[in-house]
Point group: C2
């Protein structure tokens, strides 16, 4: 009883020797809470993230495919775009995406700001144009005032729009996952099954790619190293950016943070069950045929990577005016 | 100075004689803040309201067309449904909808609970079936636990689902509009223009239908009393429910609360500018050709009906499981 109390105190004041060792030696690092330094910009970015007027139809916002009620994803194999077009690839989670070495599965955007411009003008997604999106924002006095306050100009530019969206997205980190509490020395944060899963995860080599704060996102890797990945999805990955044949079927390693929430899995969204995704990865990437108990254990471990989800009040969007271009949900 | 202070105090302690008279004599009544008595049920209803897994595609939620970031509406002439189908009628705001005498434009649902079941199974909207929606919820342990806690049964029924959604929707009232502050005796809450607009609004007879707390929603009225309303929308209104020829083109009078946010206007969503809607209503319903200054004043008054918008943290939806039916965004 006294010992438990003492251990609790030690955990509380964060000086556990276990903690220090785990933090330095484990290949996965805990996520730090994000400290907002530019609250006005983050608030503006939040509004833009939720504003469907950045799409041609007036119906699709960033949040449609990166739904912050659903792990920052849409939980569909590939997304629904303008006019119900079927998207080419699985929508990656926006959660912790600031930790990625680049954005999109093929890494064609260097950072979140560059990424944010893409879907607005993509005819398969929001199907708008940057200049029309800017026209919409410029017609709304509350937006003009907010941009003016933050960027010191009553003009609104695409760079400002994507800068604000990126500033909001940077706040979308998910600290305090049970695994992180364990990393910080709280032995009770994980069950034996979960720890066994983590040991197996390290033992067979998953950590070669899934490591660091985001447990992924830090490299491009070929999908199907030992065995080819069978898919009807025509995406070829990184070669689209580099033009190098060696990069064919190479994709950004997805984060495993909140993986419990970001089904279905892989760039084609073909696998709905985390157990199946674990099995496929072990076989194709590592040449390991896992026993079903190991799959269960690894899956249990992966579910400990679910952290605190973003908590904020739903934004209230400033209304359109008589000068606001009217959305075009249906073509005539 | 002392007088201003005294008046301020009187306003504060709410005993202004002006206030008492206005509250009793004006045809519009202030909205009361909603006091939540069943917080667990409201939280569950909020999740369901935001959960796109109640649709066949896994993409459309109640919030898609009754967007709580946009005045509880979608700001489109008619809504986008499953497979991008064009809806038949303008999506009415969910804000203050508990005050309506019935739900839908034709009043075919007696109350919010009855309404909530409609879109889930409507092939033009969420295109699901009630039993499939229930199957989804039953497959998710966190939902089962919440229903069990609230309804005392681990079964989940459609009645429970719609009861919880309605309980959430009942909280979506918008008190503290500037007009309400004025009704309560705060003379400074409105400008002279706004008061002039309100006087004209009463003088020409708008209050015959737009009265009470919701400034509408309490009767069905023919659209086009003096002159017929020109529209390509085939909706015939209340006759669909009563079968009476006298009810042809009779629609529920919409609330004018937050009308600044709920464009475009009328059951066909044909008018984007509030000024135009005011002009059309005065001519068609009241035989009044308003001067442009009167239109401006009435519009200014109407914008004082925007109240506090719902403030709550975006809900976090419990994840699907291996047993959850997979959504069908695209037909094979």
């Amino acid at each position: 009883m006294y010992k438990a109390l003492l251990m609790g105190l030690i955990t509380l004041i964060n000086i556990s020797p276990v903690s220090a060792e785990r933090l330095s030696s484990e290949p996965i690092k805990p996520i730090q809470a994000f400290i907002i330094k530019e609250p006005d910009k983050v608030e503006l970015g939040k509004k833009l993230f939720f504003d469907p007027r950045l799409s041609r139809s007036g119906f699709i916002s960033c949040n449609s495919c990166h739904n912050l009620s659903m792990g920052g994803s849409d939980n569909l194999p590939t997304s629904i775009g303008h006019n119900w077009q079927q998207g080419p690839i699985n929508s990656p989670t926006v959660l912790n995406s600031s930790m990625n070495l680049a954005q999109f599965w093929d890494g064609r955007a260097a950072n979140l700001q560059e990424q944010a411009a893409g879907p607005i003008a993509n005819p398969m997604e929001m199907a708008f144009s940057h200049s029309l999106a800017i026209d919409v924002l410029r017609s709304i006095p509350q937006y003009v005032a907010e941009f003016n306050k933050i960027y010191g100009s009553s003009q609104i530019t695409l760079d400002q729009v994507t800068n604000a969206i990126a500033a909001f997205e940077e706040t979308l980190v998910t600290p305090n996952a049970r695994f992180d509490l364990w990393l910080k020395g709280n032995d009770n944060a994980l069950t034996e099954t979960e720890i066994a899963g983590y040991q197996k995860f390290k033992e067979i080599g998953c950590v070669a790619c899934h490591n660091g704060e985001a447990v992924g996102g830090s490299s491009f890797q070929r999908m199907g190293v030992i065995e080819p990945y069978q898919t009807e999805n025509p995406a070829e990955g990184r070669i689209a950016v580099t033009g190098k044949d060696a990069d064919r079927f190479s994709f950004k390693v997805p984060t495993l943070r909140n993986v419990e929430l970001t089904y279905p899995y892989f760039h084609d969204g073909a696998y709905w069950k985390l157990e199946d995704a674990v099995d496929v990865m072990a076989r194709l990437q590592l040449g390991q045929q896992l026993a079903s108990q190991d799959i269960k254990n690894i899956t249990a471990f992966l579910k400990t990577l679910t952290g605190d989800q973003p908590q904020f009040a739903i934004p209230q969007l400033p209304p359109s005016t008589a000068n606001t271009p009217i959305p075009v949900p249906f073509e005539q």
